[in-house]
């Protein structure tokens, strides 16, 4: 294991302090500076020009044995740290520490230079670590919930309060009534273990986010990768000859992926960007295909129409590796099986009979047959019939994409053997997001554009987050799980809806289509690594649940900064910044496990998640899961991971120990779907499925015979679609895009970033602004019947007329009127996907009228800071 030990005493850099030339005392230096700043200029202006006349310089002069040129040597400690939030770029950084203080973050080389990375946010960590608003002490609410009135308490009192509430709730309602809500604020493994171990040991409800699910569910249904699961590793994008970014603005949201695309372009590759708005990524495209927001499944179906009608698919491949030759029963959509009930049959054109599909060399792809009195057709015929309607001309009435562009893209995609589609969250945040995924993956399934260098759906192949093993000694089993919206139903009503087994007993035999309401009271909640008030749709619903003190007996929030969620806490726990504890981090966007070293002492009374959960667990009798140091847990994760990797394990461990970064899977193993066995019920690619995957509330499937769609299809957005009568009242589609200035809500208070991005803005097209008498710089309200928020108008050619966008991540206290960007969104649930339809909203925009509540200035940042200072 790593030989370098980070000292665990109060100040981990005491050792470093000795190394620092004591004559170069920072404090003395700065004390002098503050006093003389003005003097210098005056002195200079009257001619005091000689070097050394400057008192600041004098303060810097060493007393004696300086170098010959008078220079001073300063010792810096450089630690391996990881930027661990959910942009999933997961940069390995250097923390430069002098005198026990973080003075800089820098790029820290990976074992492979192509993954070297850092961004503007990762460079600003000192402004987070030393942010004056950082939470300093445990606090207990004294005013009404949400009032921002707390008093400082000890950790002992905080831990006692939480543990006794958990015990009491367990006695009265069962352990499930205590929910531990873990968001995506930290990708680090020990931090993740911290909350999950207590949830499992106690039997608490484990709750988490419900976004990023739909598109992945769709591509997974077919058997291929997605935006964040599977596909090829990111650097393989540079091997592609055609790259299609579908709803993916990676130049803002995943900046570290861009250079792989640029590398491909330098080789002559084409970049196609499908996006309603002229994003930075679109500006880099060889061809930008703008389309009506939410119409992406129709574009997908029209591309499939061209692939099928022009026979651009790879027929031998389709026959050998997809469900398309399978015979489908006309009456219920299920596959036709042989007499044993296991072998799925295909129609053999040679013997003119139905035979087990895997034995048929020339199966029928079209036609209609009767087998033992059952009418059947090949699945291909069903797909062909489905897409026949979706000619590029018909689809244009949905998508507004010129038919010539559709034909060009389909033909180019089929003709280019290294075609790489990287779909992302722009198509995920819609009611119909799963249908986007199914259409896209079906394109690849028909053309075999995956499973080889330069060809894939998605760029998460070999992602280390999915390779890292749990630590040894972890509690076994799983905690009962609810995604956020279902958990909020449980808080609200004591009930939630779940899908139950079709046969009443075994979920492995399929789930019923209609959900059933079950008792699931949640009486207390602990948010950790989560700013869910800001990250859930229609946040006023959650705020309402939190401020209604009859619903929840206790709200605990652990965080390092005073977020929107902290505001509604009964108990606030100050936790560490990533650089203040040991951990190991895996991710989605590269195959490396990264070591995170404790480089800084936790400030004030901050403790790590592991310590915080460990203290509560010990009170409840589960202390056994938290006896080791964080570093020991991290090391045990790496040892278990190495063991799971078999023959390559020892070399992985050696690389991790030597450099603190280890590739877990070989480049070859990071090319997804190279074997022709797929993670689907049939083991084949499934453009046609008889078992349709659902996420509600956790994974399962519903048989096609129960009335779910076996094929990629069209489903309109639930709200933001012209058919909706509401369109007349609220004619603008409202999205909350992800920009480079924040990651979800993290970095909301970084001064360097706020200099360039100082306040919430809303992007409006010129047409829409003009129609409303709005000019750039006007303060406007974005509203619908659900809620409203306010922002400064930017009038821009970037926006498609009929769409508006407010970047995600501002905290309510930064927005006039104390509103949030998610207030005009909807907290509704798609049963299939359990996915937040963040962009599927209609709004109107108007100038803020004088005297409106929207004119109220932002709440100062934030009551939390003031309360702590007062205590």
């Amino acid at each position: 294991m790593p030989t370098e030990q980070v000292p665990q005493q109060e100040d981990p850099t005491d050792e470093g302090a000795d190394l620092l030339d004591s004559r170069f005392s920072r404090r003395g230096f700065l004390g002098a500076t503050a006093a003389v700043g003005a003097t210098v200029a005056v002195a200079a202006s009257v001619g005091g020009l000689a070097s050394g006349s400057n008192p600041v310089v004098r303060a810097l002069q060493p007393d004696g044995d300086s170098a010959a040129d008078g220079s001073i040597t300063v010792k810096e400690q450089v630690y391996n740290v990881v930027c661990s939030q959910n942009c999933w770029q997961t940069c390995r950084l250097e923390a430069h520490v002098r005198d026990g203080r973080l003075v800089k973050t820098a790029m820290n080389p990976f074992p492979e230079s192509r993954y070297n990375r850092i961004c503007l946010r990762g460079l600003s960590h000192a402004q987070w670590v030393y942010n004056p608003a950082r939470l300093k002490f445990p606090m207990k609410r004294v005013g009404p919930r949400g009032s921002g009135q707390w008093r400082r308490i000890t950790w002992d009192e905080a831990v006692d309060t939480i543990a006794s509430s958990m015990t009491s709730i367990r006695d009265r309602y069962g352990p499930k009534a205590f929910a531990i809500f873990t968001g995506t604020g930290n990708y680090a493994s020990v931090a993740g273990y911290a909350s999950s171990a207590l949830a499992k040991a106690f039997g608490a409800t484990s709750a988490s986010i419900s976004v990023d699910e739909a598109e992945t569910l769709g591509t997974f249904q077919v058997g291929l990768g997605s935006s964040w699961l599977g596909g090829n590793e990111p650097l393989d994008m540079s091997n592609a000859d055609l790259l299609i970014m579908w709803g993916n603005n990676l130049t803002e949201a995943q900046v570290q992926e861009w250079h792989f695309v640029a590398d491909a372009k330098d080789r002559g590759a084409s970049l196609v960007v499908i996006d309603p708005n002229f994003t930075t990524t679109a500006s880099k495209a060889t061809k930008w295909i703008p389309l009506r927001p939410g119409s992406d499944p129709a574009l997908g179906l029209s591309l499939l129409n061209v692939l099928v009608t022009e026979k651009l698919y790879d027929e031998p491949f389709v026959i050998a590796n997809t469900t398309l030759p399978f015979l489908v029963r006309d009456h219920d959509g299920m596959f036709l099986r042989g007499s044993g009930g296991t072998e799925i049959l295909a129609w053999d054109l040679d013997t003119k009979s139905a035979r087990p599909a895997k034995t048929v060399k020339r199966p029928a792809l079209e036609g209609s047959f009767v087998v033992n009195g059952v009418s059947v057709r090949p699945a291909f015929a069903r797909l062909s019939e489905r897409v026949a309607l979706w000619t590029p001309e018909y689809a244009e009435t949905f998508t507004q994409v010129p038919p010539a562009d559709v034909r060009w893209l389909a033909r180019t995609y089929a003709a280019t053997k290294k075609s790489f589609i990287f779909p992302s969250m722009g198509i995920d945040r819609w009611w119909n997001g799963d249908m986007n995924g199914r259409a896209i993956a079906t394109m690849a399934a028909l053309t075999h554009n995956f499973g080889q260098p330069g060809a894939a759906i998605g760029a998460a192949g070999g992602a280390s987050a999915f390779v890292l093993a749990p630590p040894t000694g972890a509690p076994t089993g799983t905690a009962p799980y609810l995604p956020d919206i279902a958990a909020f139903d449980a808080i609200d009503t004591g009930k939630t809806k779940i899908l139950v087994p079709l046969d009443g007993t075994n979920p492995a035999n399929g789930l019923a289509k209609e959900p059933v309401e079950v008792d699931w009271p949640i009486k207390a909640i602990w948010f950790n690594e989560s700013n869910q008030v800001s990250n859930t749709q229609q946040s006023k619903r959650l705020i309402g649940l939190l401020t209604d003190e009859t619903k929840l007996e206790l709200v605990v929030v652990s965080d390092s900064m005073p977020t929107d969620t902290v505001r509604y806490a009964d108990i606030v726990l100050p936790v560490t910044h990533w650089f203040e504890n040991d951990d190991v981090v895996g991710t989605i966007s590269h195959p490396f496990a990264l070591r995170n070293e404790r480089s800084l002492p936790p400030p004030f009374e901050a403790k790590s998640d592991y310590e915080a959960f460990g203290l509560v667990a010990a009170k409840l009798g589960f202390g056994e899961y938290y006896t080791r140091s964080e570093k020991a847990v991290a090391d045990s994760i790496m040892v278990a991971t190495a063991a799971s990797l078999g023959a390559t394990g020892p070399s992985v461990l050696r690389q991790y120990n030597a450099v603190g970064a280890a590739r877990l899977l070989s480049p070859e193993a990071c090319i997804g779907n190279t074997s022709m066995t797929f993670a689907t019920p049939t083991g084949r690619l499934e453009p046609y499925s008889e078992r349709v995957l659902v996420n509600y509330p956790s994974g399962g499937w519903i048989p096609t015979s129960a009335g779910v769609d076996p094929l990629p299809g069209w489903e309109p957005p639930i709200q933001a679609w012209p058919d909706n009568a509401l369109y007349k009242k609220y004619p603008l589609v409202y999205m909350t895009e992800h920009t480079r200035w924040r990651v979800h809500t993290i970095y909301f208070n970084q001064p360097w970033l706020r200099e360039v991005d100082p306040e919430p803005y809303v992007d409006l097209s010129r047409d829409d602004a003009k129609a409303r008498g709005i000019v750039a710089g006007d303060y406007v309200e974005i509203f619908n019947d659900t809620g409203s928020t306010a922002a400064r108008a930017r009038v821009t050619g970037k926006m498609r007329p009929g769409m508006v966008s407010v970047p995600k991540g501002w905290q309510r206290f930064q927005v006039k009127g104390d509103t949030g960007y998610s207030d005009p969104t909807f907290n509704w649930v798609n049963q299939r996907t359990m996915n937040g339809s963040w962009f599927d909203n209609l709004v109107e925009v108007r100038k803020v009228s004088p005297g409106s509540s929207m004119e109220a200035p932002p709440v100062t940042l934030m009551a939390a800071g003031a309360a702590q200072n007062a205590s």
Binding site: V40, G70, V74, Y130
Partner: protein
């Protein structure tokens, strides 16, 4: 954890003529086809040089493409494309002191506070600067900023502790500042900080006097342009204009730069 030594000049404010590379002529090439305007270079610069709030040595302009000569017309807003939907274009121009070979700023400084080192870096001596700001008027590119009041540096304003290179001291009110190519990193054998951070791999730095250096190769073989070369200032920051490379056509960048590893971020030494 490793410990490294950083050399800090005895007087970080004063004149720094000495360079270990007197025969070098440092320059930079930025590929605008790759630049995504993310501001990573700009924030890196802030952090390495502890640049006060309200000032940027390195910033990103959003420009209306003008392949003919980079006569910089900004589009009027950050990230604002030129044109009307859907006929749009978007280009970024990251700018900083161009370290001109014929710098107008040094000509006008009445106290010789702004000067050119032997290796071509244009410097400001904060001991000598009297805040007259003639250099700011003389610079045709608007690359200099001025400390009108006592600079606010974050987190130093809260913690009494300054971030960045120890050779970048808290400056006094009343001096001009600007990019100095991270001269102290160069003297330590490292590239400027903005080079090792660019997520797009758009920035290349090196010795223009060395014909085999990456910058010389790009200047020789790529369609580079300088901003308003007609001023005769001979800027040493070159740009590969947007639309000149990639995009389904064989690359117009220098052939060796088609090798992606050539561009990777490294802790590269300057020579």
């Amino acid at each position: 954890m490793q410990t490294t030594d950083l050399k800090s000049p005895a007087n970080p404010f004063g004149r720094h003529d000495w360079t270990p590379y007197p025969k070098s002529r440092w320059g930079m090439v930025i590929d605008l086809d790759r630049c995504i305007g993310c501001w990573t270079c700009a924030v890196a610069c802030k952090s390495n040089n502890d640049v006060p709030i309200g000032m940027w040595w390195n910033r990103i302009l959003t420009i209306d493409e003008d392949p003919s000569g980079l006569d910089v017309q900004t589009t009027g807003g950050i990230d604002e494309p030129a044109g009307d939907y859907p006929n749009l274009s978007l280009s970024f121009l990251p700018v900083q002191c161009f370290h001109c070979d014929n710098p107008p700023c040094t000509e006008v400084c009445p106290v010789a506070a702004t000067y050119k080192r032997e290796d071509g870096i244009v410097m400001v001596d904060w001991d000598r600067c009297i805040g007259c700001r003639y250099c700011m008027i003389a610079c045709p590119y608007d690359m200099r900023v001025f400390n009108w009041s006592v600079p606010v540096q974050v987190p130093a304003n809260e913690t009494d502790y300054h971030v960045g290179d120890p050779a970048k001291p808290p400056r006094p009110k009343g001096v001009v500042e600007k990019c100095d190519f991270c001269y102290q990193r160069i003297d330590d054998g490292l590239q400027p900080f903005c080079i090792e951070v660019c997520p797009a791999r758009a920035r290349v730095f090196g010795d223009l006097n060395d014909p085999d250096s990456d910058v010389s190769q790009l200047v020789a073989h790529a369609p580079v342009a300088q901003v308003r070369a007609d001023f005769g200032t001979e800027p040493k920051v070159y740009y590969i204009p947007a639309g000149q490379s990639g995009g389904g056509a064989p690359s117009a960048v220098a052939p060796r730069f088609v090798d992606p590893e050539r561009r990777d971020l490294t802790k590269a030494e300057v020579s």
